[in-house]
């Protein structure tokens, strides 16, 4: 074997380019943000409408509204809308979560005015035909049934309920009974009450002229008016500590572990330190926890931790699916790595690695039209201005080992987290009870 070859060093990094964008708040209150990015002759559109409500049955109605808003308007039936979109090479998707309704699309750039016209049609004259609502209701119920047969989905539901009981954030899937009871008339009422431009956000990214895109948005959406819905936003309750909750899934060959705790929003001055602490713990493959339970012990294929930002709360989430017979040792190693983060400082080398990773992946995530559009709508929707993208590397560069230790102690300590384990209760309860308090 020849001598060991040296690994090449890095050359001078490119200076981050300033992100330039144009924006206008329309008379209706809709904020329009346009970013020119002419890599390919396409355009990305994201429309975010605040959709939070604590009303009973809102989640079911919002889900069904998202599934049926494109099934008919004053001008087009369902297939007609799909044909009009297809002629623009457009894909359009609608999604609802506890915070917002999001209508996302991409299309051939020169089709933008027509595409915005179709958005206007959906916003001002979606008709929720009875037959379409009835068909989609049945399919939504079937999709909920299919989702709930997955261990990961069951675990996500159980953890959300644990982290935000009684709050809209506590529910990741709509309740089937409430879906069954939802009518087309209720969707029309919900649309009239909440699909409003005031407080909504339209982001356009692509091979377009900002001036023309703003003008196109203003003209296409002129007819979409109405004040913001008067709904209140209620923050979720504090997370109550408790034992590890075991959810029985008889015969399961794996245990799906999910843990969650409070985290900091992106505007917080301690957020960069927490972002780096999460990476060092389990946020990428070179992290302590992933190297431990995947690369050293082979317990899990894709253990991962992440920070999640909802409008009213940020969370630290960790997930791993492990073979049933190694559930207890996997839990032990997980608690050990969390405890180590909370009680002992990280090294300078670890910090430097995640710092570079965080800076590099930020550049990567905004290098495409779609990535930039999604990042922009997520930041602006959470009240973070787009300069954050250019100023964040400098904030990451300043984080110290002591700052990481401080946030890790506060947010990653195992006693600060709640957890669920979805698996074969008969096989895992006793071994897990040897490691942690279970219920």
């Amino acid at each position: 074997m020849t001598a060991v070859l040296p690994v090449p060093g890095l050359t001078q990094p490119a200076r981050p380019k300033k992100l330039s964008y144009s924006e206008r708040v329309l008379e209706s209150g809709l904020r329009v943000v346009v970013i020119r990015r002419p890599t390919v002759p396409m355009v990305e559109v994201r429309l975010r409408i605040p959709f939070f409500s604590t009303k009973a049955r809102h989640r079911a109605r919002a889900s069904l509204l998202a599934g049926t808003i494109r099934t008919g308007t004053a001008e087009h039936d369902r297939a007609g809308l799909a044909i009009a979109l297809g002629d623009l090479g457009a894909e359009l998707g609608v999604g609802a979560d506890a915070d917002r309704l999001l209508i996302s699309s991409s299309a051939i750039a020169s089709g933008l005015p027509t595409l915005l016209g179709l958005y206007a049609e959906l916003l001002t004259s979606a008709s929720y035909p009875n037959a379409e609502v009835s068909g989609e209701r049945g399919r939504l119920l079937e999709r909920i049934t299919m989702s709930r047969s997955q261990a990961g989905v069951m675990a996500g539901e159980a953890l959300a309920m644990r982290m935000a009981p009684g709050h809209p954030y506590g529910r990741t899937l709509p309740d089937p009974q409430e879906v069954s009871a939802t009518t087309a008339a209720q969707l029309r009422t919900l649309h009239a009450g909440m699909v409003r431009p005031d407080g909504a956000l339209l982001v356009i990214v692509g091979d377009i002229s900002p001036a023309r895109a703003l003008a196109a948005a203003e003209s296409a959406l002129a007819g979409w008016t109405g004040p913001a819905a008067a709904g209140r936003t209620t923050p979720p309750p504090p997370i109550a500590a408790g034992p590890l909750q075991i959810v029985d899934r008889p015969g399961s060959v794996q245990t799906a572990f999910r843990f969650g705790g409070l985290a900091l929003p992106r505007q917080d001055e301690r957020y960069p330190a927490l972002q780096l602490a999460n990476l060092i713990f389990g946020g990428f493959i070179s992290s302590r926890w992933v190297e431990n339970i995947r690369e050293r012990r082979g317990f899990s294929y894709s253990p991962r931790s992440a920070l999640d930002h909802a409008a009213l709360r940020s969370s630290f989430l960790i997930s791993a699916d492990v073979a049933t017979e190694v559930s207890a040792p996997a839990l032990l190693e997980t608690l050990y790595e969390l405890g180590r983060m909370a009680s002992a400082p990280v090294t300078e080398a670890e910090l430097e690695t995640v710092r570079q990773y965080a800076i590099g992946t930020l550049a990567i995530s905004t290098a495409t039209q779609a990535g930039l559009a999604s990042t922009a709508v997520s930041l602006l929707g959470a009240g973070v201005e787009l300069d954050w993208l250019t100023s964040h590397p400098a904030r990451l560069a300043k984080v110290t080992v002591a700052e990481v230790a401080e946030v890790a102690r506060e947010f990653l300590a195992p006693r600060r987290l709640v957890g669920v384990a979805v698996g074969d209760a008969g096989a895992i309860t006793e071994p897990l009870a040897g490691i942690a308090e279970v219920e």
Binding site: T11, I83, G89, Y301, A323, G360
Partner: protein
């Protein structure tokens, strides 16, 4: 509805590619584009799970895992560490006919990325310890994606067994646990020697770099790797099906039945334009609310929850050689509806074969496919992977840039013929029956 004059057209894609071949046979494709400070490096090897030996199901994928476990130069975990501490991401994936490895990096880490790919092409560290660890990791991957999941691996793991008669085409590409457990370091070394020769690979680089500098780095890092013989690729061809094949599979975790209908399609190497017709046909059948199968089976008849038609094992229509297939899958509420679902699919295919497309339908399918390609190529990493894959599979990286114009030449008669070819006598049907519903 937009009038003809308002229907936009997609400008052609302009990427300049540079080609080079090193003396050791490694083919190189460069796609410089300096607009974002990001660079992607990919190596595509001409071996996938179709080529793995009998008794070694899942070996191509297991071997992919081993390629991340260090080298003569690097300890275990160092490969990950060097990429990630440069601010980059990496991964690899195993397909029917190829395996790829890739890194997406800030452009100032280009040389490091090239070094790391050259490093494992030269001398991966294959040890008994790494092998045992990665067998465990792969088993967890199979548990999470197949054994512990409703509809796990359906239908890519089950349809080939019914549809094909020879081991290379019909076996389970994830692998059986017994085969995985019995894999040895010698197996891995001989697999590497046979298939991971430079002459059996394509290196592609896309994004923010100077082509002359990049080529110099490529020669420095990949040039010294010894030339080995490119393995001869066997003929994997099988005769077409002459009668319908059916099987029933019980899925203990699934709450609802599902079906997969597979049809052999034309050999892309023999008749690429003919093959593209099947790609357009799949688009017409199931992309979007105006597509044939969605309208008929989901909206009008309410027979299924969802339905999709796609080419290739994993839905990328342009990544496989012959034999490959068109698959239609659907989930539905009631097992008693199985025959109705099949009959409704047949009726739609028959209608398309006899009446042809509606005005605008063919053009729209072409535009949608072209827009999808544009969208894909906006991403530096996808661009790098696509150019490399097209060079490897079709010996023509630029082919992807010509697809929009090729799609535009497909006629209504072509679509009718392609729909007619999806006959009941030439299909394989896997019916998935839920065990959970018992």
């Amino acid at each position: 509805m937009p009038t003809a004059s308002r229907i936009p057209t997609l400008p052609s894609l302009s990427f300049e590619l540079l080609h080079h071949t090193l003396p050791n046979g490694l083919r190189v494709v460069l796609a410089p584009d300096r607009r974002s400070p990001v660079v992607a490096v990919a190596v595509n090897y001409d071996v996938g799970f179709r080529s793995e030996p009998q008794g070694r199901t899942g070996f191509a994928h297991l071997f992919e895992h081993l390629m991340f476990q260090g080298s003569a130069n690097l300890e275990k975990l160092e490969h990950f560490h060097y990429v990630q501490s440069s601010g980059g991401t990496f991964n690899g994936s195993t397909h029917l006919d190829y395996t790829n490895y890739y890194d997406l990096l800030p452009s100032h880490a280009l040389e490091r990325g090239l070094f790391l790919e050259a490093d494992r092409m030269r001398s991966p560290r294959i040890t008994a310890e790494n092998l045992a660890n990665q067998i465990d990791v792969v088993k967890e991957e199979i548990r999470v994606n197949v054994l512990n999941r409703p509809y796990g691996g359906f239908p890519w793991l089950q349809l080939p067994e019914l549809m094909y008669d020879t081991f290379p085409n019909s076996h389970n590409g994830y692998g059986g646990f017994e085969d995985l457990s019995s894999a040895t370091v010698d197996d891995a070394s001989s697999f590497f020697d046979s298939y991971y020769a430079p002459a059996n690979a394509v290196l592609s680089v896309a994004g923010d770099f100077d082509p002359d500098q990049a080529l110099e780095m490529i020669e420095r890092h990949f040039g010294p790797i010894e030339r080995r013989t490119k393995p001869r690729r066997p003929d994997f061809g099988e005769p077409p099906l002459s009668a319908e094949r059916r099987t029933v599979l019980v899925d203990e975790l699934a709450p609802m039945p599902a079906i997969a209908i597979g049809y052999r399609v034309i050999d892309p190497a023999a008749d690429f334009a003919g093959y593209l017709t099947s790609v357009v046909l799949a688009e017409i059948l199931s992309n979007g609310d105006a597509s044939r199968l969605h309208r008929a089976l989901v909206q009008d008849k309410g027979l299924v929850t969802d339905i999709s038609a796609y080419l290739g094992t994993f839905g990328d229509p342009l990544e496989e050689r012959d034999p490959t297939r068109l698959t239609i899958t659907a989930h539905y509420a009631d097992r008693a509806g199985t025959e109705k679902v099949i009959a409704a699919v047949d009726a739609e295919l028959d209608r398309l074969a006899t009446e042809g497309t509606e005005p605008g339908e063919l053009r729209r399918a072409g535009v949608q496919l072209a827009a999808t390609i544009s969208h894909e190529l906006d991403n530096v990493l996808n661009r790098c992977l696509e150019f490399g894959k097209f060079q490897l599979i079709f010996d023509d990286a630029e082919l992807i840039l010509r697809l929009p114009e090729l799609l535009a030449t497909i006629t209504d008669d072509d679509i009718r013929a392609a729909a007619r070819a999806l006959a009941p006598t030439s299909r394989a049907v896997v019916e998935l029956v839920p065990g959970a519903a018992k």
